[in-house]
Amino acid sequence: MVIGVKIAVKVNIVFFASLKEKIGQNSHLAELDLPITIGQLKQQLSNELDKGDAIFEMGIQSSVDFEFARDEDLIPIDVKEVAFFPPVTGG
């Protein structure tokens, strides 16, 4: 890895359940300068979206390409979709 090099990618960000309603949209096409973490993406989204602060609410979880992710996880370069959602309540 070459230190200091940024790679720009466009990534589909999707929202679910109560978070989708609070943000007021299902999805958002974000331009990311990788490498960034999920936590840094949250900060970017809170700046880009009118009601993006909802993403910082307690318990909001995330996934990268259908796998659960954590705030400290780096978003991979071949990422297709990142999702944010409240704790799950199935069953």
């Binding site: 109560s18 959602f85 309540t89 199935g90």
Partner: protein
């Protein structure tokens, strides 16, 4: 077999599909239903179940895969409904067949526990004119501690 669907499911058919001739000694099954969750008439109460197509199926498959590594199982079926559900409707089916009952009971319990806290479903309750997203239950998360290796 893992399915996420709007349609109802038939327990007897799911049960028969879990059986393997000469091998199955035990089948454990769980069915979750919508109970009446307010004092309003049951016609005024319903659920809307949302999921994340692609991720939800992945989550369920990962849970079933983990169950198969922990116990010797013959077959597993998970069916979870989405969309609008009314009081008394079936929500979820988990069925496990095995040679012996201990494995079948444990794996069925394990899969339901993980489904509650690690599969991408969200419930929204309707009570009359009011709608409200259901909050996650801390007890569901705590229950996962039972399965720590």
């Amino acid at each position: 077999m893992i399915k996420v669907q709007e349609e109802d499911f038939q327990v007897d058919l799911l049960y028969k599909n879990l059986l393997q001739a000469n091998k199955t000694g035990a089948v454990a099954m769980f069915v979750g239903l919508v109970r009446q969750f307010s004092d309003l008439p049951k016609e005024a109460c319903s659920f809307e179940l949302e999921h994340y197509p692609g991720m939800t199926e992945n989550n369920l498959q990962a849970i079933v895969d983990e169950a198969n590594t922990r116990w010797s199982l013959l077959d597993v079926a998970v069916v979870h409904r989405v969309g609008r559900l009314s009081v008394d409707d079936q929500i979820v089916f988990v069925g496990v067949s095995a040679a012996h009952r201990a494995e079948a009971f444990a794996a069925c319990d394990f899969i339901m526990d993980y489904l509650k806290s690690r599969a991408a479903f969200w419930k929204k309750e309707t009570q009359g004119d009011e709608e409200q997203w259901v909050s996650a239950n801390a007890k569901d998360e705590q229950s996962l501690g039972r399965w720590a290796k």
